[in-house]
């Protein structure tokens, strides 16, 4: 029934690959462009899938926290929640502030003066994110070898200015953005 050689698929492929010159260049250009479009399409499709895991609009718009600080006596600490994290507010005693100011810079792993960590004029108030900079545990107050904070997870010691003094943590406790709204009120964030 078949009167002629119909093995077209093989010959077709050979013809295709043996094509050369201008025609071949044009064809290659077409193939490359098409493939590039495919790559762009895949990339564009992946981005929404990745970005959806970033904080959403409601998390970004999370309200700042306002705290009444009038009730914090000298030597006392309170912990408030800001963006789901604990924030330590410590009304330091004068002795603690003096001790912090007396530390020479070369003893510090992450050198920062006490003045850089508290607001001038209200330097008794120390406001820090209560998260150990090592692996995220919450350090204990009034503990450790430097009279400040001590992280029980892996033994990081912080001084009375919340600076890292000994242990695996690389950085001082983080100071969040904050401002004093009035004598008695503080807004974090």
């Amino acid at each position: 029934m078949l009167q002629k050689d119909t093995a077209l698929s093989d010959t077709a492929l050979e013809n295709d690959t043996s094509a050369s010159g201008e025609d071949g260049t044009r064809r290659d250009f077409l193939y490359v462009t098409t493939a590039a479009f495919g790559v762009v399409a895949a990339g564009a499709a992946v981005w929404p899938l990745v970005d959806q895991m970033n904080p959403d609009a409601s998390a970004l718009a999370m309200a700042s926290t306002e705290v009444d600080i009038s009730a914090i006596e000298s030597g006392q600490s309170v912990t408030v929640k800001w963006r789901g994290k604990p924030v330590f507010i410590r009304n330091r005693t004068d002795a603690e502030v003096e001790a912090a100011k007396a530390v020479p810079m070369d003893e510090l792993k992450d050198p920062q003066t006490d003045v850089e960590r508290a607001v001038e004029g209200r330097e008794n108030l120390l406001i820090m994110v209560g998260i150990c900079t090592h692996l995220g545990c919450v350090p204990l107050g009034d503990a450790g070898d430097f009279g400040g904070w001590f992280c029980p997870c892996h033994g990081s010691h912080y001084d009375t200015a919340g600076r890292i003094r000994r242990g695996p943590a690389p950085l001082n406790l983080v100071i969040p953005p904050y401002e004093f709204m009035s004598e008695t009120s503080l807004r974090i964030g």
């Binding site: 295709d16 064809r27 077409l30 193939y31 098409t34 495919g38 564009a44 409601s58 718009a61």
Partner: protein, 287 residues
Amino acid sequence: MRFKDNTMTTFLTKTVATATLIVGMAFSGAAIAASELHVEEQDWSFAGPFGKFDQAQLQRGFQIYTENCSACHSLNLLSFRNLMQEGGPGFSEAEVRAIAAEVSVLDGPDSDGEMFDRPGRLADRFPSPWANEEQGRASNNGAYPPDFSLLAKARAATRGFPTFVFDIFTQYQESGPDYIYGLLTGYSADVPADVEMLPGLNYNPHYISGVQIAMAPPLSADQHEYSDGSPQTVDQYARDVAAFMMWAAEPHLVERKAMGFRVLIFLLIFAGLLYLTKRKVFASVKH
């Protein structure tokens, strides 16, 4: 070969026609379910492939909502911060802060365990006029004023065959605002003789569930003062608040349509390239 192509073309033509019909069925079903209501199509700035919300209109609509509708209708899914997001009414952050601060929000408990009131902030939701649905019903003769957050998408008019097929190509998606506009401007004092009005209800032939609606005509001319010189008519008020409700129901509409245009252009070029590639690949093969 001739033979095969013929059947294939037939198959494809008929398949496409079939698919279109089946898709259409969806809407016919949906629309009929909503009601046998017909509404007049209005011109909206946000219709069509390049549709955008008119910021001034949304601001006016928001004004109508706050001055008028918000006395009975909640807007539970929206926060004040939404008012300044892209594609919306375009208020500045300072303006929105001021709007929010006028509202008192129940917060707490404080360190003494007491709840307290404070001025609203950007992240707060719009306050509901009712503590709960029961209170809303009790204050309105048993009819709960529906929440506005999604109303523009939760109402639709009957389109019917073959209109709903054309809708696929004309991108008609404004049934909700058309309905809201129709309802707000549709009140009539001329009650037909065959309609026996129940006490406390108002005649409105544009209402989705019957012609008697519990809501009294909410708008009247010159009731609200527009600062931008727009006409202070019931028609304009209704149009503005319907647009605002469409934005509230679909806040990403502008972004969606803009992205859609880019995606479609890209896909069409990509399809063209693939078609040419396919032709090259099959150039020397009979199939």
